[in-house]
């Protein structure tokens, strides 16, 4: 059970840098290893090198959008849990995201408790599966 002993790895992708900064602040304190990126391509490159447990990604981004990130991350490691955050949630996108295996879909602006809760549940889910 080595996996349970190491720090959980969290990747945050959002072209709004502040989101990454704040979540890093919070989850570093909670013992997570947090990587924050504004460029999805760079973030995916890092994930290729070492898979993450949790990926929190914005939906609408330049170049690669959240659904594409979800697909690629799942390809790298199907066990990774992906949470999509978005400023404008449309039912269609939410539907296709869930079909593609997203763990949760959170509309912006969200409360800190919401995202914390989602990430904790994702970790628990992942641990249950592992």
């Amino acid at each position: 059970m080595t996996e349970n002993n190491r720090a959980p790895r969290l990747l945050v992708i959002d072209d709004e840098a502040i989101v990454g900064k704040r979540l890093s602040q919070i989850f570093s304190k909670m013992g997570y290893t947090v990587a924050a990126h504004v460029d999805p391509a760079q973030a995916l490159a890092e994930a290729e090198r070492q898979p993450f447990d949790i990926v929190v990604t914005d939906l609408k981004m330049q170049g690669i959008d959240g659904l594409e990130v979800l697909r690629r991350v799942k390809k790298i490691n199907p066990a990774t849990r992906v949470i999509i955050i978005t400023g404008y949630a449309e039912m269609d996108t939410a539907d296709s995201a869930f079909r593609e295996g997203v763990f949760d879909f959170i509309p912006k602006p969200f409360r800190l408790d919401e995202i914390k809760d989602a990430i904790l549940r994702a970790m628990k889910d992942r641990a249950g599966e592992g």
């Binding site: 709004e16 404008y88 969200f110």
Partner: protein, 502 residues
Amino acid sequence: MAAARPDSPAPAGPSCEWYQPGTRRARSLRRKMVISLAMVFGLGCLSTISALYSLSRVADKLKLIELSYELNQKVLETRRYEKNFLLYHNQPDLISALDYIDQVRARVSLLKDTAVLPGEEISEYRARLEDYADVLLQLNNPERIPPPDSLKKQVRELGQRFTEYVLERDAAARLEAEDDTRRFRRLSLVAMGVTLVFGGALAVLLLRWVTQPLDYLRRAATRIRHGELTAIPMAPAVRGSLEGVELVNSLNLMLRSLVEKQEALIQSAKLATIGQVTAGLAHEVNNPLNNISLTAEVLLEELPEDEESSTREMVGEILAQTERAREVVQNLLVFIRMAKTTEPVVMDLVQITEDSIGLLKNQIRLSQIRVETDFTKEPVRAKGFPSQIEQVLVNVMLNGIQAMTAGGCLTVRVLARPDEHHGVVEIGDSGPGISSEDRKRIFDPFFTTKSDGTGLGLSVSYSIIEKHDGFITLDSQSGEGTTFRITLPLLTGPEASEVGHR
């Protein structure tokens, strides 16, 4: 939905008068035309009959002339044989003369049969003929050949007189026939002239009856196209016929519904544009909002426990304000994605109105206003989404309540108009009223007169009612309050029998 526009209020507004035909002069155009055509037909028949009559009279005269001519010839023959006998005393000449006298007699009878000549004239013919025939017969005595000179003279005299009479009558008959022909030709010409004049006048009148209203309508249509008129006014040109009045009324109805449809199109195009803009806007605003609230929350978490409570309070206020902004955006999003989730149900407008008033009990009590209700005893049924209708009613009532000071009165009526297939909810307040300037924009998104309003309440209400195939209108006089009238298609028949569950 034009009905939402104060300058074109719903049924029986000033922009669309319903004209009654003038009681005295208005006749059906159809009737006028039938009468006119009958008159022309009658005149035509009259002139034809007079022409036929004239022809038959002329034919009679011609027959008379023919008979007179024959008579003439026979008389001349008689006189020739009579002369021969008197010269040469040959018995066969006398027999021939007498024979011709018989033929003359037969012609006179024929004249009588034609009944063209008066009786006295026939008697005159006969008298003179018999006088002559008598003396001619006296010649027929073989013992007295040659006859005495006195008898000869008598024969010549009477024969001469008869011949002269016949010739005179013949000439007279010719003259008469010529006169008659002239007279009948004149009669026919007069009849034809009368027919032409009357028929022409009627044709002109008919043309005018038909073209005058059409021309008037054409000109009115041009003025409407140029924006000088919104409806066709009644004018003498069309008031004269029932058809004209009906046509104007139908065209005005059509114009009104066209204007309504056009304005409804404009309004929904406006809403669609707003929807697109808002969708983009919401996304753009949610990101900074998220940054603010996330930062404020992290800041709050990271504040040392012993930090002054005023700092905590201020960060808390940042969070609260962010929450408020989030709600505004949320409402916008709801407005765009108007719930089209479930199937519409049969709903009772009376029930929904009662429920809506119930929801506002607190506001009503706090604002110290009265509520007067007037509901029909029977349910007023319509099809749709009760929660959405409730949202509209609460919204409109809340506007009314907020428009009034303590002691004001909110009047709520629910009624059914089965003949118009309408169910109506009327919500009136005794507030200050709405200026005509504001009335034009009251259903526009983001239009508000309240300091803390979003300007979405009535535009959302408008779209909801529009989606229910209904319309909202309002009456407002400055200083005399405002009445909103929400009209929905009334449900009747078997479909209405069961009110759906909510």
